[in-house]
């Protein structure tokens, strides 16, 4: 279980301090799928990066399976079973898809395992295994490979930062389908940051974050209708759907 207690992240801007994440508390119980949504610039990605350890909080605590991980490095958190799929995954000249998946796994992955991960994210594995993860791949291809790198790890908590961002309509439909089947037989807890209605529909729980604070949280059936009403303007998720 992940527990976030009074987490804050402020940045200094000249003489003023701006709060990006303001006193957020929440829990992700084991095996739950939580979708975090809300307007751009509201602090969602920062929250995800704080959980992974990419940013250091200026206040509060992060507890993972009863252990305070607030001061642990990225790699220490990774070893505890936390994974993070970047919103804009970096590319690597000279690293093949197969090698990247093996690095994610921590040891050389057999070809059939690599293929099964790639198939799950909708890529024809034989075409991709030996391709380099460089600028020859499209944005959608890189995002799918990013998701596959999380599958190649044995995670207790997987965080996906806007898996739909930068993906065209055609790829997005396939991506949602792959997410659906992935989520159906997963064991780990999942946090997905998303603006997409179809991804929110996969959630056990939805949290709305704006101005660095939790504005609403509850079960999908409870929150989803509200998104159509009072939070519609703030979230704009329908306009942003591809």
């Amino acid at each position: 279980m992940l527990e976030i207690k009074n987490l804050s992240f402020t940045v200094e801007n000249g003489n003023t301090e701006t709060g990006i994440v303001n006193d957020i508390s929440m829990t992700v119980p084991d095996g739950r799928l939580i979708v975090i949504t809300g307007p751009n610039g509201g602090g969602k990605s920062t929250l995800a990066r704080l959980i992974m350890g990419i940013e250091k909080p200026t206040g509060g605590q992060i507890i993972f399976n009863n252990e305070d991980i607030t001061n642990l490095s990225i790699s220490e958190r990774a070893k505890k079973g936390i994974g993070y799929a970047f919103q804009q995954p970096p590319r690597f000249k000279g690293l093949t898809v197969r090698r990247l998946l093996s690095l994610a796994h921590g040891s050389e992955l057999p070809e059939d395992r690599c293929c099964s991960y790639l198939t799950k994210v909708g890529l024809c594995s034989q075409d991709y295994l030996n391709r380099e993860v460089d600028s020859s791949l499209s944005g959608g291809e890189v995002k799918r490979i990013e998701i596959a790198t999380l599958m190649a790890r044995e995670l207790l908590l997987a965080i996906y930062d806007e898996p739909e961002a930068g993906i065209d309509l055609w790829s997005f439909t396939m991506l949602v389908d792959s997410f659906k089947s992935m989520m159906a037989d997963r064991k780990e807890s999942v946090v997905i940051i998303s603006h997409q209605e179809r991804i929110m529909k996969l959630a056990d729980e939805i949290i709305i974050i704006a101005d660095g604070k939790i504005r609403a949280q509850g079960s999908r059936d409870e929150i989803f209708p509200k998104l159509m009403g009072e939070f519609d303007n703030a979230c704009k998720f329908r306009e942003q759907s591809v």
């Binding site: 990419i54 990774a78 994974g83 690293l95």
Partner: protein
């Protein structure tokens, strides 16, 4: 041949023992020490100069030649002339390479002057690895000169790698391409400490429909310095692409000066060059796999130079 010799042969030529088949010539501390010719590949010592002639019969298929050089003493200054005559229609792989183990305080240097005469329709893959080691303060210097003469419709692929430990290198490469010839070069180089590396290359595309692809990838660490000057000259209907890509670290200096010249309106030549640090997101991504920063950096460099 002792353990150190075999360890170096492994690094530079992938040889853990004398190859059971195929032609080879092993040169150690300025002298040829073992040699074998085969039915199709004849290796003979030169009469006028130090070095060997390698003659490959026309039509020879799928054969390999190993010609590694090792230097294990300090103060060796080895200048060698090797000429390769590759017969019409042959298809062969040549594995060269030079390793210097210098435990003394005097400089050891190997300057290999290689000339390739590639016959019509012949296909050559040439792999050359350079490596230096040894606890001494003596410098390890490698200055290879490579001249390639390509006849009609021949193909030559050169992969040159400087693994590590070479204090100073100046590479001079020239190629002359006849009609339909294709030249592919992949140069990979890593420098560290206060090492210096320079690579000058001129590829003349003289024949119609000739083509060249020159790719150089390098990593400069510490206070090392690198200079790349690849030049493609189009003298006919031809295609060429020159690409230099470098990762710069610490207090290193890199200069990439790709040049292209067209002396014919049907020449199509492109160059691109980039120098930059390791991208922070690349490090972060690998750290989310559980690597520390140093491990992540090593993986990125290894991939980049693979």
């Amino acid at each position: 041949m002792d353990k150190t010799d075999y360890s170096m042969l492994g690094k530079i030529a992938g040889m853990s023992s004398i190859p059971s088949v195929g032609a080879y010539n092993i040169r150690k501390n300025g002298v040829g020490i073992e040699r074998r010719s085969t039915e199709n590949i004849e290796i003979t010592p030169k009469k006028d100069n130090p070095g060997i002639d390698i003659r490959i019969k026309p039509g020879t298929k799928a054969e390999k030649v190993h010609i590694p050089v090792i230097i294990t003493e300090e103060g060796v200054n080895d200048l060698v002339y090797n000429d390769f005559y590759i017969g019409e229609g042959a298809d062969v792989e040549i594995v060269a390479g030079c390793g210097i183990h210098n435990s003394g305080c005097k400089t050891s240097e190997h300057d290999g002057i290689h000339r390739f005469f590639i016959g019509r329709n012949a296909k050559v893959r040439y792999v050359e690895k350079h490596y230096g080691e040894g606890e001494g303060t003596g410098k390890r210097i490698l200055n290879p000169t490579t001249q390639v003469y390509m006849q009609e419709n021949s193909y030559c692929e050169m992969e040159t790698v400087q693994i590590k430990g070479v204090d100073s290198t100046v590479r001079e490469t020239t190629a002359e391409l006849a009609e339909g010839a294709k030249f592919v070069v992949l140069e990979k180089l890593m420098t560290h400490g206060s090492q210096k590396a320079q690579s000058n290359m001129t590829v003349n595309l003289n024949g119609s429909d000739s083509s060249a692809q020159i790719v150089s990838r390098s990593v400069a660490k510490d206070t090392s310095e690198q200079v790349f000057k690849p030049t493609a000259v189009g003298n006919a209907y031809c295609k060429a692409h020159v690409q230099c890509d470098s990762i710069i670290m610490d207090g290193a200096k890199i200069s990439s000066v790709p040049a292209i010249t067209a002396n014919n309106a049907d020449a199509h030549i492109v160059h691109e060059a980039a120098i930059g640090r390791i991208n922070n997101d690349q490090l972060l991504k690998l750290m989310t796999f559980g690597m520390n920063e140093q491990e992540a950096e090593d993986v990125i460099i290894q991939g980049f130079l693979s």
